[in-house]
Amino acid sequence: MSNAVVLEVSGLSKRFGGIVALNNVSLKITKREIVGIIGPNGAGKTTLVNCVTGIYRPDSGKVFFLGEDITGKPPHLIALKGVARTWQKIRPFYNMSVIEAVTAGALLRTKDVLKAREEATEVLEFVGFPKSKFEMLGRNITLIEHKLVDLARAIATKPKLLFIDEVVAGLRPHEVDVIADVVRRVNREMGITLGVIEHVMRFVMSISDRIVVLHEGRLLTQGTPAEVARDPLVVEAYLGTKPV
């Protein structure tokens, strides 16, 4: 594994009125890594991704992608540079068929619709979306299928760095295993660097190379899954202080 830094975030802060959602967060993600980003509710995980992908403009701090300053750039330009994401709350294209939705993603790198459709088919097959449902409208598919389409749509833009925001939330245990397998293959076979935001510990601990813990907008600690799980600070953040 090379140690090239894909993403560098330095001193990132974001306030919403009186609430400090991100407070001076700095972190690095290196090439081909799977970084789990965890933390209790309201820790600032999604805000971090929103600031990196241009949905929010950070109040202070810088975001560097492959050494280039992308702070405050509009989302579509950041996507063009190679940062993609999925959504915690699914954002489906209800009135487009599954294949059309993923094709819209693939069209970022080509003008040729037929070629984009072929690529979309490949990506959908890669994530294991049932082939019989390619032509179905977004409104007619199930939650796990939505999550797969969301993932496929992001992968179809051929990103170098992909943020996966709570992809297994609301899924059944065996479905979690299916997604975990897909996520691992995205990283290994496609070589995409991953930032995985997750609440489901079993999932995030099993797939991550490294875990970053956020708490109340601050970077609490980081390390391997085993280190983080033992860290008293992390236990405290999740469970509160030890009972007396």
Binding site: H76, A101, A104, L107, T157
Partner: protein
């Protein structure tokens, strides 16, 4: 674009135009029916132009007759005042309407005005032009002095203008079909479904919305002259709010983004409206509007997906029947 796509884009438009050319013969050159056909074709063209911004891009635009009026009145006045041929005037009208759309659309999309606020802003545009044109035109109806010939695109009978508007309709249909099969169409539909998600897959939402708006407005600016000639008159009332809403209704009842649905809705609604007015307008003035409105509500309840969902269901049924027949 490969040759097969070219055929799928142009063939339906040509078919419609060819079937359309037979209508004057079928009605025995009865001028009332030819004029009705002309008005239907113009309405279908306007509604299909609306389909680009309203159907594909999903922006509820209520300003169609701002663009129709501006382009149309410009071309008409250039002809009556300066003897400029509408062949040039219509393109100028298209250009001016496109410029107006850009001026309105740029700040609207820059500041992320969408949904009902976009609808209200565009509705206001029609009202503004309506009021402003009273200042410039005065509270008068302008009748176009009679001139004749292809130079003026005006004729003693309606057939030639009807054939010309069929060409325009064919163009608008092909443009719609082309858009729906190209990158622009995929991007516009993605924007319609979810702007934030569209941005995140690299779509320049502002640019594509503006492109859709300007395309739509320039088509309407071009059609404006045909509309005015088919109405025989223009005035400040050409900037009509109700007509603009009517166009949006046709687009929605037809089914957002469905070319066949919007096309058939335009024809059916125009003809139903005309007959209701003919039969009931004299008995109880205004009753036809009540019935017309009720019809729209019924369609909305029974077929919220618009006419296109009906035609889709029908073609599916027929396909299943045929498959069963063969097995």
């Amino acid at each position: 674009m490969n040759p097969r796509n070219v055929i799928t884009v142009i063939l339906p438009a040509l078919t419609v135009a060819l079937i359309g050319t037979t209508i004057p013969f079928l009605v025995g050159f009865n001028q009332y029916y030819v004029l009705l056909a002309l008005q239907s074709v113009i309405m279908a063209s306007i509604a299909l132009a609306w389909n680009i911004i309203g159907g594909y891009a999903g922006q509820l635009d209520l300003a169609s007759f701002a663009y129709v009026g501006l382009g149309g009145i410009l071309a008409t006045m250039l002809m009556t005042e300066y003897n400029v041929t509408p062949w040039l005037g219509m393109f100028l009208g298209a250009g001016v309407s496109a410029a107006l759309a850009f001026t309105i659309g740029f700040p609207l999309f820059r500041f992320g005005i969408k949904g009902v606020w976009y609808a209200l802003s565009t509705a206001a545009l029609v009202v503004i032009l309506h009021e402003a044109s009273i200042m410039f035109l005065g509270p008068f109806d302008y009748y176009i002095p009679f001139v004749e010939g292809w130079y003026y695109l005006r004729f003693r009978t309606w057939e030639n203008l009807y054939y010309f508007s069929l060409v325009v309709l064919a163009f608008v249909i092909s443009l719609n079909l082309y858009i729906s099969r190209s990158k622009i169409g995929y991007y516009l539909k993605a924007i319609r479904e979810d702007e934030v998600a569209a941005e995140a897959v690299g779509i320049d939402v502002r640019k594509y919305k503006l492109l859709a708006l300007v395309t739509y407005a320039s088509i309407l600016g071009f059609i404006g002259y045909l509309y005015i000639v088919s109405q025989r008159t223009f005035s400040y009332n050409t900037f009509s709010g109700p007509q603009s809403v009517y166009v949006a209704i046709v687009g929605i009842v037809g089914g957002l983004g469905s070319v066949s649905g919007v096309f058939s809705a335009a024809l059916i609604l125009k003809i139903v409206e005309e007959y209701l007015r003919g039969f009931l307008g004299g008995v109880l003035p205004g009753l036809h509007l009540l019935l017309f409105g009720s019809l729209l509500i019924i369609v909305g309840i029974l077929r919220p997906g618009g006419l296109s969902s009906l035609t889709d269901a029908l073609t599916k049924k027929i396909r299943v029947r045929i498959q069963r027949w063969y097995s």
